[in-house]
């Protein structure tokens, strides 16, 4: 039995199969390592992007919320509600599924923002503009967060595979190859000794 649990036949044929397998696995390992590095790089760039964007969204939200509170207490809840009901438009967002290095994620696009310009009283326009900017950036933030989550999940899986290949599968296969090579070498040596012994016997018999 081998270290990987498969039955080992110490034959040349099996050695060839194992060596082929090891070659393919090593190639896979190289590819996955490259994928891992690329994902880490991509993840780092997304994290950099999200830090700035999150700060921006938080600032926009705080500014919009503070102004909304002031307007709410100035105009009163009934009027704010009336003006909100005056709006009959809505936001349209489309989602497109994309894939980077086998990682699937959705990209959102704000297709249409609600047009409130000619529908609500002038006093509400500023706050509506603030919230429109906030929602637009919030959609972008949600998209990047979802992307980061998908990449991080894939990175975790890729990392596990690369580590198990690096630390378990490849060393075990190499051990198996080494074992078969040792056995075959031993057999070869034994065969050589046997042949030498047979030749000596034959030579002794002829010399008699």
């Amino acid at each position: 039995m081998s270290a990987t649990g498969t039955r080992i036949l110490p034959t040349r044929g099996f050695l060839l199969i194992l060596k082929n397998r090891l070659k393919i696995i090593k190639e896979g390992y190289e590819l996955l390592s490259m994928k891992r590095e690329e994902l880490v790089r991509y993840l780092q760039s997304l994290i950099k992007e999200i830090v700035g964007l999150r700060e921006n969204v938080e600032t926009l939200y705080l500014k919009a919320f503070r102004r909304f509170q002031s307007l709410f207490i100035t105009l009163g809840p009934e009027n704010i509600e009336t003006y909100a009901y005056m709006m009959d438009d809505h936001i349209e967002i489309s989602a497109l599924t994309k894939s980077t290095m086998g990682v699937r994620y959705s990209e959102f696009k704000v297709e249409k923002l609600p047009d409130f310009r000619n529908k609500i009283p002038p006093i509400m326009l500023s706050i509506a503009t603030d919230y429109q900017k906030f929602i637009k950036d919030l959609v972008k933030l949600a998209e990047i967060e979802a992307k980061i989550e998908a990449i991080a999940r894939d990175l975790e899986t890729t990392n596990k595979i690369v580590n198990s290949l690096e630390n378990v599968v490849i060393p075990n296969l190499e051990k198996d190859v080494k074992y078969i090579e040792d056995v075959l070498e031993e057999e070869e040596l034994e065969e050589f000794v046997r042949l030498k012994f047979a030749r000596d016997v034959e030579l002794k018999r002829r010399s008699k």
Binding site: R66, R67, Q69, S70, L71, F72, I73, T74, L75, G76, P77, E78, N79, E81, T82, Y85, M86, D88, R117, N118, K119, I120, P121, P122, I123, M124, L125, S126, I127, T129, D130
Partner: protein, 334 residues
């Protein structure tokens, strides 16, 4: 009758909260403390005592009921001037009409709409029937023949799903023009005082409208239609020119609008609105001695009651939102 009204107004003045009292209320940590502080005021003590478990809704009702009570007291004791007060209060009826219309359009059940409508004085229309309208066409039809009847162009636009805002401004235009016309009938110094107040209110509303195309890209034709044809310190054609060109320079230095315009330009609409109220309040307050025993004093008390109602609402919601106290106090009218 209005002499009696003036005496009653002076009595009422003693119950209106001072800025110190308002600030004390604004510093309440939560609505429970606000309720306790309201119990210590002359005007609200009794009604506040009746509330056992305070909530925003109950305190809002308490504040609004006091305003309603004051307005009706003023109307009853002011004789002919009472009619003018009743006319002024119609601006809240216009708000109610719009509220009902937009809710009918959104399909809100009449039972829900009814709960939200508070009339300060006896309304000019049958609200019960108006609220029960099954659709916008029926609601607009019920306004026909009343003082709130929309023009056929606006009515058709609203029924066919167009924006409600032209109707709101049509009603506001009619309201202010009629009101100013009525003030002119009063004549004399009293009319001057009231006109100053009203025209300031209208002109700042016009400034809000005329800046909308350049700041937010609102349709200039719509804004021209929304302008209320009343001018105080800025001729109406100057406002029209701002709508068309976006050049605000000519009005930026007209006192007292500079600060208001600057606030609007940085998006602080609420503060700009409060600034308008403050101007109105300070203007009346500075002339108080001059109209101490005239009809304008009734107007003054009406405006003080209205500002107190606005201030208390600001305090109630500001305390409930746990707003920064200095920010909250900056939004009080004094």
């Amino acid at each position: 009758m209005s002499d009696y009204g003036i005496v009653k107004a002076h009595v009422e003045k003693t119950t209106i909260l001072t800025i110190e009292e308002l600030q004390k209320l604004a510093y309440s940590q939560d609505i429970y403390e606000l309720h306790e502080n309201l119990k210590r005021t002359k005007a609200y003590a009794l009604s506040a005592l009746l509330i056992t478990v305070p909530s925003v809704r109950k305190l809002h009702e308490l504040i609004t009921n006091k305003f309603i009570e004051r307005v009706n007291k003023l109307i009853r004791s002011s004789g002919e001037f009472g009619e003018f007060i009743r006319h002024y209060i119609r601006k809240y009826e216009i708000e109610n009409i719009l509220r009902v219309l937009v809710k009918i359009r959104k399909g809100i059940p009449s039972k829900e709409i009814r709960k939200e409508i508070v009339n300060i004085t006896k309304p000019e229309i049958d609200f019960e029937s108006f609220i029960s309208s099954r659709n916008l066409a029926e609601a607009i039809e019920k306004l026909a023949g009343t003082i709130y009847e929309p023009s056929s162009e606006v009515a058709n636009s609203v029924i066919s799903g167009g924006p409600v805002i032209p109707f709101q401004f049509e009603l506001m235009q009619r309201f202010y023009l009629e009101l100013i016309n009525e003030v002119s009938k009063i004549g004399g110094f009293d009319a001057e005082i009231i006109l100053d107040s009203l025209k300031l209110e209208v002109e700042t509303e016009n400034i809000f409208i005329s800046l909308a195309p350049s700041i937010f890209g609102v349709d200039p034709d719509l804004c021209e239609r929304l302008l209320i044809n009343v001018s105080y310190k800025i001729p109406i054609h100057d406002l029209m020119s701002i709508i068309r060109t976006g050049n605000i320079q000519p009005i930026l230095h007209i006192k007292p609008y500079g600060d208001i315009i600057n606030l609007l330009l940085v998006g602080e609409d609420a503060k700009a609105k409060i600034e308008v109220y403050k101007l109105e309040y300070r203007s009346l307050k500075s002339k108080e001695v001059k109209f101490f025993v005239s009809k304008a004093y009734l107007w003054y008390i009406l405006k003080l009651s209205e500002f107190e109602w606005r201030n208390l609402r600001s305090i109630l919601f500001g305390v409930d939102f746990r707003m920064d106290k200095s920010e909250l106090i900056s939004l009080l009218i004094y």
